[in-house]
């Protein structure tokens, strides 16, 4: 079908001499008179101040050519949908919400001055149709080819649309990511399978869903055997803490969509961090948007569900945005484009859902050029009880209805789970990409909260990776079976094959479990609040997952086989032997330049400089609960602090959110890159006023931590991955560090996720990420009024360094600036090591210092070491003064380093862990020094002179005006956002 439909054009009024001009088009699949359409558009679409209106006419301006960007069929088009709602209201042509077929399509026409500007139009051909041409232009809108009125009739014919095959041949054609052993297991279970059965198994057994590598048997080169990394290290860490401490606040771990802890008498807090790497590599905007919306659903769908999201965090790893285009491999998007797209996706997802993005990180390393890492996390608050029911449980009985809620199903997102488990290559199916719809999800969440509070829903779960197949397959284990009538699933368009419907990952859907007696009420409420709900089957207890298509059974799989039939993998690991040098001091191969120059380069280094350009695009204050923001008082803070919304009058309880990842050290010592990240997460919280176990009064402070491992391929292949076992060895060490530190500090892991194949493979070339683990933690703070921020408060205050500095510069930012090779670095220095027995008493002293209000500021030392921490502590909002370089009322610091054995270079730039820069009032000196004793080194004081001045053994080595330092730090990243 290819016809001309009526359309509306909105053209910006102010036509200045720009190279491109962007017009908005709405195409209507309605039969309507030009005059009526004009009247509708004038009232509903046109902003008379900014735009001019044209109906069924493309005005030809002084631009010779155009680029037309429209969305491919089935791709989320909220703009078109909202225009359609307005159209239906205006003409009273309401279509029932249960069959919300799209009839209005929004697209964009770029007027271009030449070919070059045409090519600059950003679009992604995976989701967009892109048309370049010369005027005149008339928009044509093609519907998805699959739409065919006869399809529905055909579909009902017995046997149609389902093929029966043997597993082997299918596995190769459809990127199902099944191994030979797995195909054998399937063959042993059933000789002939329907296509939908194969798809269900492939999806359920995908790495993404079953974590086969984290559950594999690992044979190490020292002949130790690890039976599942997850069970041995991650789960056992939490179990050990439960056995020893039995914390009453630990409600649910690992077994649901997110970890659950109890933050006060009436509320549970769920917390989940996910990754969305592959989708973000293919379509950065859509990948990040669906990532953040998806993890929102995880946090909301714990236990009964219906919680309210509290905050988001986002951690991103990219190649350097200045990466040259001519070095890109086929299939690799420019890192700058990925950066822009991902940031836009996160801001649309978070801002439109009304969830503050309270914290995050961006790390640049060209090894993330093949697959960027996009970590998305969400916490939600759920009432601990709905009526008398404890909300933590998912209870399902045979006979309960399976209800699909939210958006309709299309081809988008088919095979997302299995593709994520493959290394990317140039043949990866484009249907793995989806665009999220924040509106649909916001409506759905409000609705779910309402029906949960009214006791109408038994429990809920997210339809994420693997779609219905995954969510129903998992829920079915709770009742002992499920029966789905697939033809009832609402579709975006007809013509989908049954297996496609079942595994589609079309977004913004959840599966609800509803007792039959509540169904009518739910249906009515859903209609009133414009949410689509459909009963598509019911739970059973016959041990089977059954799927019917117009009455005919097309899949019947034993649940036990489905969830426990996957053969355990065996993998081989070669454990790394970290290289350590014995030098206490660092002797550089050549003169690095002056400290003055080096320190300036460091502050504007891409991994040190301000993230303000990104932070201010995210609404980080919605909900009105923020206490420490990512840039409070214009200075970077160590952790986010929020008030809890349910405080009673006079209560000031809050949460601290911290996180860390240190992949830059993994090549030197993977154990300590993981240990260091865990330590950093703790010390960030300690800096602002958080607590850890004191081992004395039986009180265990509440923590909920997510671990997210992202690895390059760890499976040996003689040609494509000969060093797989070495990478697996690194992973083993990282998991050991997790166990050692979680149990040492009694901080439990509650949830997490791994992502295992983060490589880009193109003929002859491969880009693999460094082994990366992110720890994200939430902890409670009893009184947020005692929170201490990172920056100095008044001149005259004394500045101290807490903790010890070692020759630990391998992987450091300063060595990156000096462009030292790995071998050169190892020869002269060491990677930062965590000395937890030393760190622990220091953290207890910090808690005591907070308790006695001794600290005016506290900032943890991380990338860039002491110099960066000192500089950042000098920043505050007075540095924003428009007369940029002329400092106003801000202040600086005068620092005197005394050191006989080691160099200023080491003291200022070493990245040793477990250290803080703090400032105190002069009158607190005695009490402070008595508390910290030899762990504290007096560095100098805060000065009214707005300079950071550093001497080394009385020799001046650094003198920066704070305003200059501030602007170098602040402006570096912006250049990659301005066109």
């Amino acid at each position: 079908m290819n016809t001309n439909h009526p359309f509306v054009v909105l053209l910006p009024k102010k036509i200045t001499n720009t190279k491109t001009l962007q017009a908005k088009l709405y195409i209507f699949h309605y039969i309507i008179e030009e005059q009526s359409l004009a009247e509708f558009a004038k009232e509903n679409l046109l902003n008379t101040i900014t735009d001019d209106l044209y109906i069924n006419e493309i005005p030809q301006l002084d631009y010779p050519c155009y680029t037309y960007v429209s969305k491919k069929s089935g791709v989320t088009d909220d703009e078109g949908l909202v225009a359609q709602i307005a159209f239906e209201d205006y003409f009273k042509t309401q279509t029932p919400t249960t069959t919300k077929k799209q009839k209005v399509y929004a697209s964009t026409l770029y007027y271009c001055s030449n070919r070059e500007t045409q090519n600059k139009v950003q679009a992604n051909t995976l989701i967009h149709h892109l048309l370049h041409g010369s005027f005149p232009f008339l928009p044509k809108h093609t519907l998805v080819q699959k739409e065919n009125k006869e399809d529905k009739e055909k579909a009902k014919e017995k046997g149609a649309n389902v093929t029966y095959i043997d597993a082997q041949s299918l596995a190769q054609n459809r990127s199902l990511a099944l191994s030979t052993e797995e195909i054998d297991a399937i063959k042993n279970y059933k000789s002939t399978l329907s296509d939908i059965e194969v798809e269900i198994i492939a999806q359920t057994w995908s790495e993404h869903c079953k974590h086969k590598e984290f559950n594999a048997k690992i044979v190490c080169d020292d002949s130790t055997v690890i039976n599942s990394l997850f069970k041995t290290y991650i789960e056992r860490a939490t179990k050990t803490i439960i056995e020893k401490e039995n914390p009453s606040w630990l409600i649910k771990v690992f077994s649901d969509n997110a970890g659950l802890v109890q933050v006060d008498e009436e509320n549970y807090l769920s917390f989940k961090v996910e990754t969305h790497n592959t989708p973000s590599a293919l379509d950065p905007y859509g990948g990040a948007l669906t990532g953040i919306l998806g993890v929102n659903r995880d946090a909301v769908a714990v236990g009964i569900g219906g919680g309210r999201p509290l905050f988001n965090i986002d951690v991103l790893c990219f190649a350097h945005p200045n990466y040259p285009d001519n070095k890109l491999l086929p299939g690799q998007l420019p890192p700058k484009q990925i950066l822009h797209g991902v940031v836009q996706g996160i801001l649309d997802g978070g801002n439109k859902m009304g969830i503050p993005t309270v914290a995050g990180s961006v790390l640049f390393d060209n090894r993330y050029g093949g697959k960027p890492l996009v970590f998305c996390g969400t916490a939600a608050l759920m009432p601990s009880h709905y009526g008398k029911k404890d909300s933590r449980h998912k209870k399902i009985s045979s006979g309960d209805l399976i209800v699909m809620a939210g958006g309709a199903v299309g081809l988008d997102g088919i095979h997302g789970a299995t593709v994520s488990s493959l290394e990317l290559d140039d043949e990866t199916a484009s249907s793995a990409v989806q665009i999220g719809s924040p509106i649909t999800q916001k409506f759905l969440f409000d609705f779910l909260e309402l029906i949960s509070q009214q006791g109408l829903v038994k429990c809920s779960t997210d339809n994420g990776a693997g779609g219905l197949s995954s969510s129903i397959g998992e829920l079915a284990t709770l009742s002992g079976g499920a029966l789905v009538d697939l033809e009832k699933v609402p579709l975006k368009y007809e013509g989908l094959l049954p297996w496609e419907i079942f595994v589609s990952e079309s977004q913004e859907r959840m599966s609800l479990v509803v007792a039959k007696e509540h169904w009518k009420t739910i249906e009515q409420l859903a209609h009133h609040y414009d949410v689509t709900v459909t009963a598509i089957g019911e739970f059973t207890n016959d041990g089977l997952l059954k799927v019917r298509w117009y009455g005919e059974t097309i899949a019947s799989l034993d649940l036990h086989f489905l969830h426990h039939g996957v053969p355990q993998k065996t993998l081989h690991a070669i454990l790394p032997i970290p290289h350590y040098c014995k030098n206490d001091n660092v002797i550089l191969p050549s003169s690095p330049g002056t400290m003055q120059d080096l320190s300036r380069k460091l502050i504007s280094n891409i991994n040190i400089c301000s993230r303000e350009e990104i932070i201010r695009r995210y609404d980080h204050e919605v909900k009105g609960l923020s206490v420490l923001k990512p840039l409070s008082d214009s200075a970077p803070q160590d952790a986010a602090v929020m008030l809890l919304p349910n405080n009673k009058e006079g209560e000031f309880k809050g949460i601290i959110v911290s996180h860390a990842l240190l992949p830059q050290y993994a090549d030197y010592d993977s154990y300590h890159s993981s240990a260091g990240a865990f330590d950093e997460m703790i010390r960030q919280a300690i800096a602002v006023g958080g607590e850890i176990s004191t081992n004395s009064n039986g009180h265990l402070p509440l923590w909920s931590v997510n671990d997210n491992f992202c690895m390059p391929n760890v499976v040996y292949d003689s040609k494509s991955n000969p060093d797989g076992p070495n990478k697996l060895g690194q992973l083993v060490e990282m998991c050991k560090a997790l166990y050692d530190h979680a149990t040492f500090y009694k901080i439990p892991l509650t949830s997490g996720k791994d992502s295992m194949k983060n490589d880009l493979l193109v003929v002859g070339d491969k880009i693999s990420i460094p082994p990366t683990v992110l720890y994200s933690g939430v902890t409670l703070i009893n009184d947020i009024r005692n929170v201490v921020s990172s920056n100095f408060k008044q001149s005259g205050d004394l500045i101290y360094l807490l903790g010890e500095t070692y020759n630990e510069l391998c992987g450091s930012e300063i060595f990156t600036i000096l462009q030292l090779s790995k071998e050169e670095q190892q020869k002269i220095s060491n990677p930062p090591r965590v000395r937890k027995e030393m760190a622990y008493p220091l953290y207890l002293s910090m808690m005591s210092a907070h308790h006695h209000h001794l600290l005016e500021s506290a900032h943890d030392l991380s990338q860039g070491g002491l110099f960066v921490a000192l500089a950042e502590a000098c920043f505050n909002s007075d540095c924003e003064s428009k007369e940029s370089k002329e400092s106003k009322s801000n202040f600086g610091a005068s620092i005197h380093l005394e050191e006989q054995q080691r160099s200023a270079f080491l003291m200022l730039f070493s990245e040793s862990h477990s250290r803080f820069v703090v400032s105190i009032k002069k009158q607190a000196r005695k009490q402070f020094e008595a508390l910290f004793q030899q762990r504290a080194t007096l560095l100098g004081e805060v000065t009214s002179n707005a300079h950071l001045m550093i001497t080394f053994n009385q020799e001046p080595i650094i003198n920066h005006a704070i305003s200059e330092l501030y602007h170098e730090w602040k402006n570096e990243l912006s250049q990659y956002f301005n066109a």
Binding site: N47, A86, G354, R616, E621, V622, G624, S789
Partner: protein, 275 residues
Amino acid sequence: MNSHNTLMPKNQREVKSLVICGNGFNCEQEMARAYTLAGAAVTLVHMNDLLKGSTTFSLFEFDLLNFPGGFSYGDELGSGQAIANKIRFSKRNDGKTFYDDLMEFITRGKFIIGICNGFQILVKLGLLPNNRVTLAHNDCGKFIDRWCTLKINPKNRSPFFKNFPENTITLPIRHGEGKFSTLTEEDLLLLTEENLHLLQYSEGDNPNGSALSIAALTDPRGQILGMMPHPEAFLFPYNHPAWSRKRRDDDNFLNTIPDGLRFFKNIVEHIAYEH
């Protein structure tokens, strides 16, 4: 969804405030908290209950109607436009629209307040003050979250901006479409001659390119108020980005009523005592 406050000062009549929620609004919780802390009785009502009608409440019992911040319908078609369309054209069974209710509400002398997305909606409805003004995309082309200090126009008719030291107010802005623009220069002139402009970003700090740095408007009687900054995000001194430095510099900082809360207290006091 009701939360009634019992901490009412004596000799004051109860102020009843309705806060709209649903359909993409997302600041309704802090808006409700603001009225509760200010001493009013708050009811949250879903937008669809207003559009489609509901028997559980009567709009005209309320003194105030609040459109909170958020992304109604995801801001598709332009911020606030989709809800404005709904309000004007979505008819109930009785043939009336919510726009008819709004007109009645205004006729009865009650107050309407729109914050951020709410302001955008009131503008798109043509209520502030007519359909010759708009809030367009920020000049910088991006969403911004930051704190601003704004000047209060003492000649504006809104009764809610008393007792602000030096006639300034400090609040966060969080929007991508906040550039105040008029169809013609004359429209701008007329509007300022009538003193419909209520708040202006302080000099040299216009974050979005607004004409005359205007950040808030009222109708000629001061009954309908729309503002871009978020007073409901500054109810606690601890919301201020520099609170932990300011408390060191100013012993009184933590005891001063935050600007956002003062605004809501002014509203409640005005209605309870004078209105």
